[in-house]
């Protein structure tokens, strides 16, 4: 490991330890109520006392996130490829995409439950729905960024539309798709947590968190919050690793 790299690791650890110490100190010094903010030591002890339910809930939420993001990605690639190829279609779809992006999903979750039913379907639907715009924009922008000279080269030997899409446009869109994925992990996790609490599910971190909040159980609430954060962190690390091996050729990874 180079000296610069090991320095980076040292400073990341210093930052993490500093943050946790500061958090612990503030809660103790100001005697903050558990519902407002729970000290990290108490979150850890709540989790360690009975980890089973939290691990189960985290597993359920992780599944919601993975299903939602996967469905969203597939749909977005199809929509994005069509929009990148047909400019009028791109203009026509703007109002819908912007609307999905700016409308607070907190507001329409009841409609979602009424339309797709309560439980897992509503959660996965919301995760997929709210993450589509970022994926679509990344696909369209990335596909359009394909080197014009390379496009001409493909055309000079009459490469098919499918070959242009698969061998040129899609690889060109990969860097922006990874960026969108990082952004969507946070968004999707938020949507999953909220929807689990609102969609009448009986498990998932969001549902346990909502019930803990309604019983003023600060320890339960904050443990689900931290579990959600850890889930997000694991997802980010996984994406970063996949990105590093997939985009070795891209300047962002050099």
């Amino acid at each position: 490991m180079s000296e610069r790299r090991s320095n980076a690791v040292v400073w990341t650890v210093v930052g993490t330890v500093g943050l946790i110490a500061f958090w612990e100190l503030i809660v103790r010094a100001l005697d903050v109520r558990p519902m407002v903010l729970l000290a990290p030591s108490r979150i850890v002890s709540t989790f360690v006392d009975d980890p089973g339910p939290y691990v189960h809930d985290a597993w359920v939420t992780a599944q919601h996130l993975v299903y939602g993001l996967s469905i969203s990605l597939v749909i977005s690639l199809l929509i994005g490829a069509a929009l990148a190829a047909v400019r009028p279609l791109e203009h026509a779809s703007q109002p819908m995409l912007v609307l999905v992006m700016v409308t607070p999903w907190v507001a329409y979750i009841t409609s979602v439950v009424l339309i797709v039913g309560s439980g897992q379907r509503a959660v996965v639907f919301l995760v997929a729905f709210v993450t589509i715009p970022a994926f679509v924009y990344a696909t369209v922008g990335g596909m359009r960024s394909a080197d014009p000279s390379a496009r001409e080269l493909f055309s000079s030997i009459d490469a098919s539309r499918w070959e242009v899409l698969w061998r040129l446009r899609l690889p060109s869109a990969l860097p922006s798709l990874f960026t969108a994925m990082r952004f969507n992990i946070g968004l999707g996790l938020g949507a999953a947590y909220f929807a689990e609490g609102a969609a009448l599910r009986l498990d998932g971190l969001g549902d346990t968190g909502r019930r803990a909040a309604s019983f003023s159980d600060g320890e339960g609430l904050w443990t689900t919050i931290l579990c959600t954060a850890v889930l997000g962190l694991l997802a980010q690390v996984t994406v970063a690793l996949v990105e590093r091996s997939t985009l070795r050729w891209h300047q962002s990874q050099r």
């Binding site: 080197d147 000279s149 098919s160 050729w249």
Partner: protein, 256 residues
């Protein structure tokens, strides 16, 4: 239409809206011949090349390749195109980039195309087969671009100022290499350039163009012996041809 081998440009012209980019031009490129289009910026040389490649349609006149349309030649992969930038795909290794044109529209590949690995070795990139484009210098990237076109085994090669972005020394190396690669294939080449030395060294004939509107002023025969070797560039005959070409070019541009 009779099936004559070669490229035939018959009063082909091009308009972009109100702009007349290319006035009607005639040009014949026989099988195995190397013809250079030279002229100042805006003289329509790239437009003419793109029309021959089937990437642009003429507004008037016609172009035929082996008696068929440029579109038919494109579909049959009879034309190897070399763009100005190497246009290598950054996610493909050097070897995979060299094979790119064979991988696409593969149904139209010739029965036994040249081996890209052998070609890479000939241009001195044998050791870089597994490297990625960003690990190569500009000259090396353009060499991969040449291999990619030659690997197609096409009867026609169309090159759009492929060495424009390179430094003078690399550029000289590249034209020597190109002459070496071309000779055994017998492919006809249309080569667009700004460089007098490139035009004289590579060509059998040079078409001198002028702008506003783009047109061919003169076609000059280059009667230097083949094979062409780097030493040729020190020959008085080479200088004489270069000088006469410069005069034609200046006269064409209205600067006598």
């Amino acid at each position: 239409m009779t099936s004559v081998p070669g490229i035939s440009v018959d009063r082909a012209s091009k308009r972009f809206g109100d702009l007349e980019a290319l006035a009607p031009v005639d040009l014949d490129v026989r099988a195995g011949e190397i013809v250079t289009l030279i002229g100042p910026s805006g003289c329509g040389k790239t437009t003419l090349l793109r029309m021959i490649a089937g990437l642009e349609r003429p507004s008037g006149g016609s172009i035929s390749i082996d008696g068929g349309t440029p579109d038919a030649a494109r579909k049959a992969k009879r034309v190897g195109f070399i763009p100005q930038s190497p246009a290598l795909l950054p996610w493909r290794t050097v070897e995979a980039n060299a094979r790119l044109l064979l991988d696409l529209n593969s149904g139209a590949n010739p029965p036994s195309p040249p081996d890209p690995i052998e070609l890479l070795e000939r241009v001195g990139l044998g050791e870089f087969r597994s490297a990625y484009p960003h690990e190569l210098s500009g000259g090396m990237q353009q060499r991969v671009g040449l291999v990619r076109a030659f690997a197609l085994g096409a009867r026609y090669l169309l090159m759009d100022e492929p060495f424009a972005a390179l430094d003078e020394i690399t550029r000289a190396d590249m034209r020597h290499l190109l002459a070496e690669l071309c000779e055994p294939t017998g492919a006809a080449v249309v080569f667009v350039t700004h460089s007098l030395a490139e035009a004289v060294f590579l060509s059998d004939r040079v078409a001198v163009m002028r702008p506003r509107p783009g047109s061919i002023v003169d076609v000059i025969d280059v009667d230097l012996p083949r094979p062409r070797r780097p030493e040729l560039e020190d020959d008085p005959k080479f200088f004489a041809l270069e000088s006469s070409l410069r005069t034609t070019l200046m006269t064409g541009a209205g600067r006598e």
